[in-house]
Symmetry: C2
Subunit: 379 residues, 2 copies
C-alpha cells in the first residue's frame, strides 16, 4: 500500500453556516469576489440572499456570473474568464452544485492561462489559480472538497477533466438544510454520483482493506439515507449524512491505496451527457455501473464477491446486482440507456466518442469490443 | 449535525517513503532541523540511517535531541526547547512514536512561549510555532496527523494536553514496514489506543450516522489486522491497514458530528500513566474502556446496543463487552487495574488526581462517585 494523502480544504458544515462566508473571506484578504452561479435555483432556496447578506456585512465587493448549466461548457467558462479579467477579481466564489464549482475551478485556473482547454488536453500544466471558495447546494460530485473539474467542449462534444492541487477550494460551506427543497430526482442523481465515485475505487486493490471497509460504510449509508429521504425529504439527519458521504466519496479518503481507481464508467458516462446534455451525470452512472459490474464479473469471477457480500449481504454477484438495480429503480431512476433517452442509433456514435482516447479503465482495461458489449448490456 | 473539518497534514505512506524526507524539507525551505527522537529504537530498525541519508542528500543541517520517553515529560520538552534556542533551528523533525511527536509539537510551540506549560493550563494561547515534520515509527496515538499533544508535568504528576491548528504536522511519513520489528505487545498497545480514540466519539451523537458507520469499519479493521499480526508480525498488508486506521482514528474524520466526543476514559488513563509511567497508554485504555461501557450501560441502557450489534454482532451489550475483553485478553493485554500493576491503595490517589479537574466526559458527565465506582469495576 503506497499513497500520498493531502486535502487542505476547510469544511464549514451545518445549518446556517453560510453566515460565516463574509468574515472567512475577509480573513483571507478577499476584496473583490467573482460569484459564479447556475440557472437561478439559489434565488429560490434562500442561498443567494444569505450569501449576499454575508458579503455585505463583511464589506466584500463582488460581481456575478450566472447561467452555468449542468455539464458545464468550455464556452461559458471562457466567457466568465473574460469577465474576471475585465473586473480584475481576486477570488472565485462558486455558489451551486458540482457544475458551478467545476466551472469556478476552471475559471480560477484559466484566469492565468492563455487557453484553459490546454489544461484538459494536458498540453499545459496549471501553474497558478485564483483562490476558490464554494457554497454547496447539491451534494453529488464531491467537487467541493477535491481538486478536479470536468467541463465539456460543446463544439467537439468532448467532456473531460482537469485538476491541480491549486484547485482545492480554500473553504467550502455545506448547509444541508438548503437541499431540503430539492426534487427527489436530483437527490437520487447525487446519491448515484457519490455511489459511482466509491465504486470507481472499490475493486482496484483488494489489499486496501481499511479503505474498502470505509467505502462499504459509505455505500450503505448513502443508500439508507436516500431511502429515508424518499420517505421524507425534510429528514435533516438523513440529508446531513448523505451530504457528508457525498463529500467523502471523492475527497481522497475513498481512494487511499487504490492507485487512482478505474474511471472507465465515468469516461463512458461523459460521452452520454456530452451527446445528450439533458442526461444527468448521476443517472447516467446509475445505468452504466451495474452493467460494468455485470460485464467485468464475467471476466474476473470472484473479484466482485466482497462487494456482493459486504454491501448487499449476498454470496452471489448476480443477486447483488439485481438488488442494486432494484434499488435504483425503486428510487425512480433510469436503469437502461433506453430509459436515459438514448436510441440504438446513438450507440455507434457513443462508441466512437468513448474509444477516441484508447483503452479505458485503470483496472478494467476496456478495449473497443468490451465497450461495445458493455453498451449493448446497458442498452 | 454541525462541524468544521480541516486537516492540512500531507501524508506520505508506504515502504521506502522515508527517502522523500530531505527533498520535501528542502522544498519547504528548511535549513536547520531539530531531530527529536526517543530511546534509540530508530537506530535498530533502520529509520535513523534512512533519515540521516535523506537529510544529507538534500544538504539539510540538523541537530539531535534524544531520550524522549513514553508519557513524555515537561522537563524533557523544556530541555529540548533550550537546545532549539541555542542552536537556532528553523523546524522540528520528530522521528518516533506518539511521545516523540507530542514532544516535538510542544517544542515547536514552546519555542515561541515563555512557558509551554501555560498552553496546557490554558493560561496562554499558542500564537506561533516552528513547522513540525514527522516520521512515524509506531501507529497508535494519531498524533502524526492531528494538532494535539499530551505531556506530563512529573513534579505535579499532571498529564494533560495542548493543541493548536499551528501544530498539524506539515507532512508525515508513514512507512509501515519499519513497524514489522515491533514486539506484538507494542502493536496491541497501539491498536488499543486507536480503538479508544474511536470509542471516545462513538457514543456521543447517534445522528452522526456516516461517521459511526466509518468508525465501525475502523474498529473492525483494527481488530482483524491485529489478529493477523498476532499470527504473522511480517504481514505487511495487515501492518499497512492497521497503520492507516490508527491515523484515521484521530485525524478528525472519526469525530465528525460528535461535538468533541467524551474523553473521560483518556483523562482517567492519563492519571494511571502519570502515577506509574511504566503503564503503556494503550494498555491503560484497554482496561478502562470496557469498564466505562459497562458502567455507562447501566446509566443509559440502549445507548450501547448499536455498538454491540454493529461491531460485535450481538444484541446484548454484556455479551459484546465479554467479547471485547476476551479479544484484549487474547492479545495478551491487561484487562484490570491489577493486571496493570496498580494496587488497592493507589485507587484513592487516582481518584484525587482524576477528580482534580471536576466533572469528566463531554457525554458521560462523571462525578466523583461515578469515577470511584468505575475504578472499582476496573480494578
Amino acid at each position: 500500500m503506497e499513497f500520498v494523502f493531502h486535502n487542505p480544504t476547510r469544511v464549514f458544515f451545518g445549518s446556517g453556516k453560510i453566515g460565516v462566508l463574509g468574515t472567512e473571506l475577509q480573513k483571507r484578504g478577499a476584496k473583490k469576489v467573482l460569484l459564479i452561479a447556475g440557472g437561478g435555483s439559489i434565488r429560490n432556496n434562500g442561498v443567494y440572499d444569505q450569501v449576499v447578506e454575508s458579503l455585505k456585512e463583511a464589506g466584500i465587493n463582488w460581481i456575478e456570473a450566472w447561467g452555468v448549466q449542468a455539464n458545464p461548457t468550455l464556452e461559458k467558462v471562457r466567457e466568465i474568464i473574460a469577465l474576471a479579467h475585465r473586473e480584475q477579481v481576486d477570488s472565485v466564489l462558486a455558489v451551486g452544485g458540482g457544475s458551478v464549482i467545476d466551472s469556478g475551478k476552471a475559471v480560477a485556473a484559466g484566469f492565468y492561462m492563455e487557453d484553459i482547454w490546454k489544461a484538459v488536453t494536458d498540453e499545459e500544466r496549471i501553474k497558478a489559480a485564483l483562490p476558490v471558495y464554494t457554497v454547496l447546494t447539491l451534494s453529488a460530485t464531491g467537487s467541493e472538497m477535491n481538486s478536479f473539474a470536468v467541463i465539456t467542449n460543446s463544439e467537439t462534444t468532448h467532456k473531460a477533466g482537469l485538476g491541480s492541487p491549486l484547485l482545492y477550494p480554500v473553504f467550502t460551506i455545506i448547509d444541508p438544510s438548503v437541499q431540503a427543497s430539492l426534487p427527489f430526482r436530483q437527490t437520487v442523481s447525487g446519491a448515484l454520483d457519490a455511489t459511482a465515485h466509491i465504486l470507481e475505487y472499490y475493486f482496484t486493490e483488494e489489499n486496501a482493506i481499511a479503505t474498502n471497509a470505509i467505502n462499504t460504510a459509505l455505500l450503505k449509508t448513502i443508500m439508507e439515507m436516500t431511502d429515508r429521504l424518499q420517505e421524507n425529504a425534510a429528514d435533516m439527519v438523513a440529508r446531513s449524512n448523505l451530504a457528508w458521504c457525498a463529500t467523502l466519496a471523492l475527497n481522497g479518503i475513498s481512494g487511499v491505496g487504490h492507485q487512482g481507481g478505474d474511471w472507465a464508467c465515468h469516461t463512458i458516462e461523459h460521452a452520454f451527457s456530452a451527446l445528450k446534455p439533458q442526461i444527468a451525470h448521476g443517472e447516467g452512472l446509475g445505468v452504466i455501473f451495474p452493467a460494468w459490474i455485470e460485464y467485468m464479473n464475467q471476466k474476473m469471477p470472484g473479484r466482485f464477491l466482497g462487494w456482493a457480500k459486504d454491501v448487499w449481504d449476498e454470496d452471489n454477484v448476480c443477486r447483488a446486482l439485481h438488488k442494486f438495480r432494484e434499488k435504483i429503480s425503486a428510487w425512480g431512476a433510469p436503469t437502461s440507456l433506453r430509459d436515459l433517452g438514448l436510441q440504438a442509433e446513438d450507440l455507434p456514435v457513443l462508441l466512437e466518442m468513448i474509444t477516441a482516447s484508447g483503452t479505458l479503465g485503470g483496472f478494467s482495461k476496456l478495449e473497443s469490443a468490451d465497450i461495445e458489449a458493455l453498451l449493448m448490456l446497458a442498452y
